[in-house]
């Protein structure tokens, strides 16, 4: 169970980090970097999430014989 929990904390960590960096960027006046950073964050979290969901789908497919 531990790898899943680590994954959850990793995603939340990335989210909070992006949040902080965006605030810094906004103060520094570089809003375009803030937006780019948000997109990069979404892509990273998406990749991590997709891996977990893919494992889940494989497990369900194996169990239910879909």
């Amino acid at each position: 169970m531990m790898p899943e929990v680590d994954l959850i904390f990793k995603i939340a960590g990335v989210g909070v980090l992006i949040l902080l960096l965006n605030i810094l960027f906004k103060q520094a006046g570089k809003d375009e970097y803030a937006y780019i950073l948000t997109l990069v964050g979404v892509v990273v979290v998406f990749i991590v999430a997709i891996q977990m969901i893919q494992r889940f789908f494989q497990e369900v497919r194996a169990v239910f014989g879909l």
């Binding site: 959850i8 989210g15 979404v42 999430a49 969901i53 889940f56 497990e59 169990v63 239910f64 879909l66």
Partner: protein, 127 residues
């Protein structure tokens, strides 16, 4: 079964999701999907044991095994459609959730047709 484990993970993730939802809704959606997948991953592992028990009982009762596998397939499709639908509803996308559940229903209907045909044949053979 370790219900406390699931409760702990759910509560922790709930706090993280509400923290992220305020600023970035997309992170909240992704995180809720991942938490759902993580918890269900463990539960589905347990479910496999239940399914083997049922198949064993079915063999004892001489029930045709492909009917049983159809039942399990239908359960899987219904569960997955529900899983996706709930995530869409969390993100306030009710239209998307309904479409996904409609797709699930149609797939289940497709799976059920052979069973219905078999039952009808049996009934007609009696008369």
């Amino acid at each position: 079964m370790d219900i406390l484990l699931f409760l702990g993970i759910t509560l922790v993730s709930l706090v993280l999701i509400t923290l992220l939802r305020r600023e970035y809704k997309e992170y909240a959606v992704l995180l809720s999907a991942v938490v759902g997948a993580a918890i269900m991953l463990r539960l589905v592992g347990r479910l496999a044991e239940l399914i083997t028990a049922f198949t064993y009982l079915a063999e004892k009762a001489q029930i045709d095994s492909d009917y049983l596998s159809t039942i399990f397939k239908v359960m899987g499709v219904a569960y997955l459609a529900g899983f996706g639908g709930q995530i869409c509803r969390d993100a306030d996308e009710n239209a998307l959730a309904l479409k996904l559940e409609l797709a699930g229903k149609i797939i289940i209907l497709f799976m059920a047709v052979p069973v219905m045909v078999a039952i009808l044949e049996i009934v007609l053979r009696i008369f």
